[in-house]
Symmetry: C2
Subunit: 294 residues, 2 copies
Amino acid sequence: MISKQGMKRTICYQGIPGAFSHIAAQGFFGNQHTFTGLSTFYDIFKEVEKEKADYGVIPVENSLAGSVVENYDLLYTHNVSVTGEYYQPIRHNLLVRKTTQKEKPIALKEIQKVYSHPKALEQCVQFFRKHRHMNPVVYNDTAEAARFIASTEERNIAAIASQEAATLYDLDIHKVDIQDNPNNWTRFLIITSLHRKQDILAHNTMYKCSLMFTLPHKPGSLHSIIGIFANAHLNLSKIESRPIHGTTFEYVFCIDVEFHSHDYSLVRDLIQSCVEMTNEIKVLGYYRKAHIEK
Amino acid sequence: MISKQGMKRTICYQGIPGAFSHIAAQGFFGNQHTFTGLSTFYDIFKEVEKEKADYGVIPVENSLAGSVVENYDLLYTHNVSVTGEYYQPIRHNLLVRKTTQKEKPIALKEIQKVYSHPKALEQCVQFFRKHRHMNPVVYNDTAEAARFIASTEERNIAAIASQEAATLYDLDIHKVDIQDNPNNWTRFLIITSLHRKQDILAHNTMYKCSLMFTLPHKPGSLHSIIGIFANAHLNLSKIESRPIHGTTFEYVFCIDVEFHSHDYSLVRDLIQSCVEMTNEIKVLGYYRKAHIEK
């Protein structure tokens, strides 16, 4: 919807070009914008809050690794609004340095060290079990591992990263899809400043609303909140409780409510009726439900 | 309770001596047992399932990083029973190589590289902001980082790890408690074979029961399950939904129900009444509720 307007936006993500966050940002917005890689998630929130960037793209959940709780903590404490979601399939590839015409191509059995982010290495355990001569070596980031092996003269090393990283850093893809589980995806949220005018909801479209709240300490309080949405036949696509950052037994709850655009005012009313049942409640935003593209 | 019987048990954990999992295992069982460090969580489940080890100690949640979903996946798919929980405070320390009498002690400003697990580095962001000349370097594990710096002659490096790792690898603690957030703890579960006789519940004691289940795809089904416990005035200390490993939109729910030992048969009956409302349900175990020791 943003690309249709033909406006060039500034979008920030965590990492360097070729990181899955960068690929997701391009997947959501298209390629024609300015994409800025920052070192931390915190930096993204600050840039968006100060309106130095139009949008930020942050991972919140991976199908294998679970929630990125750091970003939920940041969503709870920063003045930003969620304006979209995007599911990025995570496909890991074994990348090696391009060989010159004089050199023999590197054989699988010659590869001794494989650099990548610890999560990516974990997600290729079966691959390492099959190729026991390869040693996984942890690196900050998948794309950084790719950039590193492109920069070194060492021959018997490889990186696990995206196909996009292979293109960007001019590497050969030795083997595609080496992840154990084909159903590996990361859900990203798109955040923007609270002051940015939100789009009007499209007709006949599925939306989500993300909420975070804390509850009074009594049995049944969560049941009552969930009942509000259950009685209206609305589906919850996520529910999670976790200790509030910095406390021991105070919990914050995150839920995502799915709704049809014609139920928008109903959902707003239901959320209003949650207010008196919660200690604190924050509506992160209303946004179009996304689907996983394969 | 195990140490009272004076029996020596075999207990496995993930990592090497000095890892937080090792410290938690000793905290729960006492020091007089045989502790075996294994490379993966999967290995722990296999050892316990085959009764090659009496118990396994696995991290399931960190107050700052969230759930260790890999272990929930393993709990769901393996024939083990949860028989205890333990909260381990996570305190990070800056460790340096011991200097000989001839050498000057290493000054903070001389330290150029700091090795540790990526999560530990993340949890000391404020420390790195204060000491911008230090570069965090990712390593497999906190204890392994400590062992590494003990083994090298390089002078200007440090590791972030536990005090126990400092003792084990004969390192100096340059600075204690460098974590950003003092409220950093990891919750561990103690697993054992299904065939091991469980202890009888103690009188007048708080217990927990952990459940994992999948629900039919209709709005309100989660509300009904939670209602079973809410109507009996039982508190849920954890609730989480996440995609089933290997699927896209099928969710598995994890809940922890707190109960007083005199309500044990009530809780068993309530769980029985959940069976027909779920597609599949697994009772991970009944175990004594633990507290966080500071």
